[in-house]
Symmetry: C2
Subunit: 254 residues, 2 copies
């Protein structure tokens, strides 16, 4: 068990983890963030493995990633992660994505809840972990990117894609993987857009879980130039306006 508040994961951009332009793709970056969070937690006694034994698991509630620049193929980079604060039902965890010589590629903010694996009910963090998580709260490290804003439900006519959930969408938690939604959202835009633009910022709000057998519907609206709001609803087949929001997202190109 380490006393260090900040956990570091060293990485390199493998050539098969980039997009066509050699940029690390958001799907891979997202999984690296989640894995670095899990490594940080498990080295401090509150990782998923131990939780699973107690029938609890972490679920991601909010994730905002802002990249000033995306690491390119063969770039070395590292992810630093630390806990910003612990509340009764949520834990705020931040990330810094750094290149060689301390160059900052970007930051990420995340909010996590702990749930009971079976009934999916939230768990009181203070009750379960007492002071164990609190003592890792890190006040020294800065995360100078905005907290994420609110994305409202979009109007029904913004529907642009329906998708059936398949085997590879489902992760160890038994639901659609949080990062898979990001990949599906990035795939809503034509490749040509990525020739001249980068995804500068992506904000994800995870509102409900979806499972195998569900259908996802993607609604997209460009709110101002290159700022998109995206809503994902499940099972809208019978009545679009009754479909439940599972994810809301704000995506900023530049």
């Amino acid at each position: 068990m380490t006393e260090e508040k900040i956990g570091r994961t060293e990485l390199v951009v493998d050539p098969f983890h980039t997009d066509f332009a050699g940029r690390l793709n958001y799907g891979t970056l997202g999984k690296h963030l989640l894995n670095s969070a899990e490594n940080h937690a498990s080295e401090r006694g509150f990782g998923m493995k131990m939780l699973n034994e107690a029938n609890y698991t972490w679920v991601l509630s909010r994730l905002a990633i802002e990249m000033y620049e995306m690491p390119k193929v063969y770039d070395k980079f590292c992810i630093d992660t630390w806990i910003e604060d612990v509340y009764r039902l949520f834990c705020d965890r931040n990330f810094c994505i750094r290149g060689e010589n301390g160059k900052v590629f970007g930051y990420a903010r995340s909010i996590w809840a702990m749930i009971n694996y079976d009934n999916r009910e939230p768990i009181d963090l203070h009750e379960v972990h007492g002071q164990n998580m609190d003592r890792y709260i890190c006040g020294e490290e800065n995360c100078p990117v905005e907290k994420q804003g609110k994305v409202r439900r979009l109007s029904d006519d913004k529907l642009i894609r329906n998708l059936t959930i398949r085997y590879s969408d489902i992760d160890y938690n038994g639901h659609v993987n949080s990062i898979k939604y990001i990949e599906h959202i990035c795939d809503l835009f034509p490749l040509d857009k990525y020739r001249h633009e980068n995804v500068r910022r992506i904000e994800m709000a995870y509102m409900a879980e979806s499972y195998i057998g569900d259908t996802l519907s993607f609604f997209v609206e460009e709110k101002e130039k290159d700022v998109y709001h995206i809503e994902v609803r499940k099972n809208v087949q019978e009545n679009v306006s009754k479909g439940e929001s599972v994810v809301r997202c704000r995506l900023v190109f530049e």
Copy 2:
């Protein structure tokens, strides 16, 4: 530049790289295999980075993976890779996936061609690399799994899915990523099948490239119990039987 014939990559099964049952997923394993191949090659002077500077690139022609058991979440494992032989237009590369204490999880065989990045024509390996690749040919290491067999064109009525190629399908080579086909193929089967069975062996023959704007059509036939032949054709819209085969695959469950 190393003199070692075998290259080793040390890995761990991160919790966000597994399927719902905690097994390392084939997509992630496939990317690890390709990255370990690339690391091996670049440490010996014939990696993609150097090739790209000369306007050449490696493309995967055949890949067969046979897993006696799939590593599970949090398992440590390593991938050993070596060159079995070098021909004029192809290079045979093998892999062993090993766990702790030398336990063998499985093996993989692959065949690669080098092409000109612009006109996609094959390059004579002996002409370009002379003896540099030959001196890494490794006779000592064994790969005790079968070479892959031939999969014939399937009949038109076996079509079960059409799919539009999207941003995340395309890799740094500008075409649909070889491993993405594996993910799409695994997604053809219902999740329930994966509750009771594992993919024991997957053989991929990459016959043509596909690009953004192409549509992929998946044809599936169960040849004997739990042995599936899969064919992927592109752009069959006008005439199914005229669509070009881009991938043929044999998938064995157990």
